[in-house]
Symmetry: C2
Subunit: 460 residues, 2 copies
Amino acid sequence: MTGTTDTFGSNELLFNAFEQNCISLAYHSLWAHPESNRFDYLKPKFWIDLAKTLERGGFDTIFLADVVGVHDLYKGGYETAVELGMQTPGGDPSVLIPLMSSVTQHLGFVFTQSILQEPPFNFARRISTLDHITEGRVGWNIVTSHLASAARNLGWDDLPEHDTRYAMAAEYLAICGALWEDSWLAGAVLRDKKNFRYADPAKVRKINYEGKYYKVPGPHLSEPSPQRTPLLFQAGSSEAGRQYAATNAEGVFLDSSTPLGACGIIADVRQRAASVGRNPSDIRFFQGLTFVVGGSDEEAQKKNDSYVEYLRPEAFAAQLSSAVGGDVSVIDLETPLDQIKTNTMQGWLNSIRASAPNQQWTLAKVLLWRRNRQIVGSPERIADVLQEWKDAGIDGVNVSYVISPKSFEDFADGLAPELRKRGLLKEEYRPGTLRQKFFGQGDYLNDRHPLKQSANVTTL
Amino acid sequence: MTGTTDTFGSNELLFNAFEQNCISLAYHSLWAHPESNRFDYLKPKFWIDLAKTLERGGFDTIFLADVVGVHDLYKGGYETAVELGMQTPGGDPSVLIPLMSSVTQHLGFVFTQSILQEPPFNFARRISTLDHITEGRVGWNIVTSHLASAARNLGWDDLPEHDTRYAMAAEYLAICGALWEDSWLAGAVLRDKKNFRYADPAKVRKINYEGKYYKVPGPHLSEPSPQRTPLLFQAGSSEAGRQYAATNAEGVFLDSSTPLGACGIIADVRQRAASVGRNPSDIRFFQGLTFVVGGSDEEAQKKNDSYVEYLRPEAFAAQLSSAVGGDVSVIDLETPLDQIKTNTMQGWLNSIRASAPNQQWTLAKVLLWRRNRQIVGSPERIADVLQEWKDAGIDGVNVSYVISPKSFEDFADGLAPELRKRGLLKEEYRPGTLRQKFFGQGDYLNDRHPLKQSANVTTL
């Protein structure tokens, strides 16, 4: 089966590099591997070189995940996470973007920021500034935080309830959208030296937003950036998450165990998108996969064996504890997943179950689950498997590294030539902003998007 | 009289370039001048080139001012500010720093952020990330906002009272300081590949801050950056401002009208610093000055005449309205300054009066006041005047541009050689972090600083 919503009517996939400004993102403790120079993550050269590698490898985007708290549930504290460098220590993702954009022309930059981190007015300006300075290459992954540790450091007594977080997120996005789309009208910026008119104040409007959680009068401080609204990403495949993605997202990250599972989720979200007035093809789906590339399958397997040696299960257990909202060191790992109820990452747990519904999912299986999405082999074998995913309807791949930058160098030098031969990877970048590259239909949100339909704005 | 607290026992001055991520910072409407290419402020190349020019010109720092609202008091709205591009539109300052740091080795980056913009926990991490990625070249100018427009967009019904803002600022700084200085102890980061120990959790502590305005348990998310605490700047010469600077600041911006006025303020703040247990030389004072450089005095004067033509008094009136917290279009401009009482920039108004106490200050005089700090002439004449300021005891100059980058290019190419000849400008940069360059006594805050004396932290 070939997807009917191919990005550009071709066999091409989009590729995203999954990263975080930290020591250990997903393959925990691989920083200890002899081939890892991850300690350099604090140096500008690390990110500058990585950006160049990604552009050489034909990557469309780098995605910077973020965690604004510590994983402190496992064994009742943050010892394990800190000792193993598991997402702590870490830094602000947005700071890396100007470094990387200044040495690339096409690579896009998507980053995570939780609505709890900063008032929307301030965040909207930072996004606009980033979009200006990258010349239209910025995307935002909207999250609501899942760590109580984050919330408590940001002025809350505890993590707000799931529904409250989603209600806040809806307001937050509406405010940002109004600032980006509706405050500075087309033609507001005059740049008229002769008449000393930089802008036409009649076309710079307040947004006068008054919601349950936020009040923001505006106007937006930044003049319109190349994309106005950044490319909007979302992860999470819970019921609420799917509906949110169908309504708002332009890019969705999937964590499916099988092509068939991905196919089902994609069809469902596209259907939901259509039912809220969007086109099914208004959303690009990125499946999370990891490649271990070798000259031959045997070589790749040997390489992978050397990686596996360095994985530390305790780091995964600490991360899983945050996801389920409880200390998994005192929970029977054979507990069926459908018995876990939590205020944290219920959607993520649901999505794992949904991606392979016939499995008897337990916590123990979740701990091993990332391996399912790992493709180890020669460039030819990996390309074969990728074609299966492509045929199941994914638009792109969210490439998780084992060792960074090594895994991305292997992609660029070892895998990319074979992918190009098969038409799975572009020969050249398309011109234009990130949104234009993704959809080929202009720099701005299309008119079907709900942020283009808000109109609660007033003139001065 | 020669200052007794010379930066390095020499005739050298520090130089800071005063900038903002906007169209019009201080010499309003000069963007309309034929020699201005300020419209490029949205392009990365503008800032990259500027950073290179500044380093060529021997500048120690670039300071990025910020305004997180619109000037909307003048004539009851923001028409004037928006039409003339007066600090609106504008962008986030911190986004520019990685761009500029990646093409320079020594230039320092000081930026303004108000405590109202973002929770301290999140801000502290961004600063640490910036300090890492610039390899120890970041400074922070602490402000509390003076625009009601800013406060209302950031979740407040109105601008909090002056004293409340200062009380909040004290807590905010204490939290950031505890995160930077006390959370990750020396030796916490192990990077021990052999034993899979990235960090020693016993040396990563919570700060458990509970104040009136903020509660932040910690720990800090970033590992210690090269300076830990950024170089701390402060502007404002009110009574409260002086005491705050004497207690906390390592760099102070002055807006004095005369060398004698500066001398008085410097002596007072140094005295206050000593009385709270710091050394008088723990603070560097930067006087705001503007240079219009010509091959001869006549040439410079002619150049200045062409600049003056483009100044638009209405932009200054709009800015002054924000400073006094009222619409100056309906206030008699001959009102004596000591009759103006405001919740906004009282300190700034006081400092103008204090810098030339024998003047009969009126609003009309404030509108013209920047001219007093403008030095127009040949490199020799400017160097002569600078020597007077140096002899009055200033440590550095906060260089305000008329046209940027033109004014800074004129500095680097026209003025710097003469300043170097006289020993007023360094021949070469000193090595090390920004703090080390400023004081020559190490990368970290010295032990006399109050942030080094907080101890309200607990172990895990």
